[in-house]
Homo-oligomer: 364 residues x 3
């Protein structure tokens, strides 16, 4: 058994612990931390199960499955938080996921990979094409904020309508990028042994479809339960830890939700498979911006918890800055440890800025 | 006769119709729409006539002619609107022209071209050089807005003076880019059979100078008349259609003024001449920013309708965003249908944002 | 003796003149101008002395010496101004140095070099790597401003703490870039005969360590004295010349402090050594952002003149714009006179904007 799986099994103990902490009222900080830890292995196994099933059902449906469930953990946490009315935390976790994938995940990959290999290379065409899609996504989800910020205020219902239409455009674009990368230009986007690599130990035999479907369902259910615990305890726990809702949403929640991607991207970078590593980090950001965010906007309308795309302006600055520096570092198709350091430093500085950002009364 | 010319001749019927609509008081909406339609063929023929005369007078004077009259339609509409005091509409149409050329025209070209050809290429050196000039232009016309927005207000006369000096710098830079592309580095900027292509059917015989001069004069006169009708009816018509002056200026007016460039850029893209297509779209934006905008600032001083470069901040955001994504898509010298889609999606999202942007009292 | 040295010796006469002007009370304008002129040769000789000593002590310590004392003149002027409480002038001179190096120095180099050579090339890898570091630096020093601007105000003490932490991150990154360029990836960053070129006439014999150490100490002392005169007279002199403190800090002070780099970068560009020229301009900006600015923040805490990283938002715009266009021009590893013109035009437009920017009450 690999070290990774051993760690995951230990972390799995936090599932019963967190539930006990909730019912025995061990305090919101305990519930929050144990729920966070419990989600990490569940998210990882959901990812593995999705990929195993994807192998079984063939490239097209498998690709769609990966594209839809790839960020399932984040989507579940966000839906639970949205349903509980924590709209600002949900928005913050979206920007935080984008920032975290582009700076923390890609930065760690380039840094640790760069310590082993003097120079690493990856396909610049894919990096640039992704950069353009990322630019569009960021522009789209942040324009409503700009509309509000550059006018004498916009009515809430108008903001909802605008956000809804923007969400529709983004989902359409997401569908077209899938069509592009899986059908018309698949050769461009082939980054090699993705499934083999990110699943734990490779598989010469055919995966067991029933087994993995059960794993997927059980993990999804447990993630949903742990998300309830996490969301319930979030406000009280973070307040008693002296953290703002903004910082929690932007920095803490995404690290938990993306732990699996972090592990995969860093592992493959250290095996010098930078194409796959960059693709995981940027692909995950793209999925958040082009799929998770618009789905949440539309879900908000259904749940009666209207979520618009009117972000805190500093989140706008942070995402713009993250995309800018990630593009600048990745556009030439090569990386070294200094480029990784620059991304990590940018993440640190953004983290400091969010930590000290005064809480707005609108938050939380 | 080509389909394009047939359409143009039919549209020409709107010249008398719009004049009738004005004098017989058929309502401002009718006048506005018919004037819009009438301008499209006139603009196209002005373009053709300019190019035919340019062939006749030789490369240097011809190049200057193209560089000066290339956006004549937009310039005439803007001058008429400026004279009528619609300063905010004029500014909006400038930003709208830049956005429209970079996103709508280039996006449609890459999308439709990309449906026919899996991958299209163009000279990245020219694309990058143009991108740098475009960056400068955008920076220059938007800095006065930033000065106003980041201070506790700037006096109107100071803003005028600043805008005037910036205009002078831009016109100088425009002159130098012409010198660069026509004299010192002409080999870099040669995009092939531009005149032949964009004029309708090619010409083995020498063009008839007198004929085309008459066409140019008549079309210019008619464009000026139709612009008067368009500007007179604009405010009432758009209000009764439920559109803001901002949306009209940014989205509607530029589509009419740039219809000819649209047709040319898309046509040549579908013949896989992407160098020319990108050059038309980016070149037209550059001309707006480096020549038309500063000329209008200086004309405003003469007309007693002072026009400064203090834009609505959302226009600033929109232009910055358009330039960013256009650079990101075009800097690698290759395009496919997805890149076209990204540009069109960006245009759509910007259009939605302008549509829902609350009217500022300063507008119209 | 070279023309350059002759000019410097003439300028040296302004050392006694400026001191006389101060004690004989010839007026603050006279003191200010003569002190400015006196600093130019002193700064140049400090640079030469640093490089000669660097040759003597070997590449590693020499590299560190260059990296630390490379912007010594600016650091001294800034420390004196900071000690006198002119915090806003210090901040303005930091942004002005970055802008000046990226636009004025690099622009003049590309323009004058481009007049001699049709096309000049330099290593794009280094240019891009520097661009990424520059992006990080700009992001880091400007995020505190963004925090303040996007909240309902941040307490001064929180801003201090945030700025202090950001300064620590930047100094760490600076150390790592030195490690990268001098140790682990030195081959990437080798731009050739830098020392030989930028020192005046080359040296076949071993430099005289004692002589140059004396020159360094005397020049440092004199720069410090002249900086006192410059800072003392600055406010009164610029006010009577009709200039704002912002304009003085952003445009005038950096031109004086960077005069030596200007001369070096332009001289080597005209010898077609663009790698070195770009490296001097960008390297100097990087040093300001990653080393001088954070050192001043930490020095402010010691001097009891708290200097945070909360800039005038227009400075933020200006630096972002300068980095954008400098990256856009330099990222392809080639330059011509038009690219130089674009940078100079951007500098001119920014200069105009700063000239007309209304003084905020917080300034000076």
């Amino acid at each position: 058994m690999s070290t990774k799986n051993l760690i995951f099994i230990v972390l799995l103990l936090f599932v019963p612990v967190s539930i006990a902490a909730h019912f025995l009222e061990w305090g919101s900080v305990t519930v929050f931390i144990t729920a966070c830890l419990a989600i990490i292995p569940l998210a990882a196994w959901m990812g593995t199960a999705t990929e195993e099933i994807a192998v079984l059902v063939g490239p097209t449906i498998g690709g769609l499955l990966n594209a839809t469930f790839g960020n399932a953990t984040e989507l579940i946490i966000a839906l639970v938080a949205l349903n509980a009315g924590l709209v600002e935390v949900v928005k913050a976790s979206l920007t935080g996921s984008i920032i975290g994938n582009l700076l923390l995940v890609m930065g760690l990959s380039m840094f640790l990979g760069g310590l082993r290999f003097k120079e690493q290379t990856f396909q610049p065409v894919v990096a640039r094409s992704n950069a353009s899609a990322m630019n569009l996504a960021v522009i789209a989800i942040l324009l409503p904020t700009a509309v509000n910020y550059t006018s004498q205020g916009i009515e809430e219902s108008t903001m909802q309508t605008l956000s809804g239409w923007v969400a529709v455009v983004l989902i359409l674009v997401y569908g077209l990028t899938l069509l592009f990368s899986m059908k018309t230009h698949a050769y461009l986007c082939d980054v090699g042994e993705a499934e083999n690599e990110s699943s734990s130990e490779g598989h010469s035999e055919k995966p067991n479809g029933l087994l993995w479907t059960v794993v997927l369902l059980v993990c999804t259910l447990l993630v949903a339960i742990e998300s309830e615990l996490l969301v319930d305890s979030l406000e009280e726990a973070t307040a008693s830890l002296g953290l703002t809702a903004l910082f929690t949403g932007v920095i803490l929640v995404p690290i938990i939700g993306n732990a699996a991607e972090h592990a995969t991207a860093v592992t493959v970078a250290m095996k010098n498979k930078m194409d796959l590593s960059v693709s995981v980090a940027v692909g995950s950001s793209l999925q958040i911006a082009l799929f998770v965010a618009p789905v949440l906007v539309l879900a908000g309308l259904i749940l009666g918890q209207p979520m618009d795309l009117n972000f805190n302006p500093f989140e706008l600055v942070a995402v713009a800055v993250a995309v800018l520096i990630a593009n600048s570092v990745s556009s030439d198709g090569r990386s070294d440890w200094l480029e990784g350091t620059l991304l990590l430093a940018a993440y640190t500085v953004l983290g400091l800025a969010f930590f000290f950002h005064p809480v707005m009364e609108a938050m939380g």
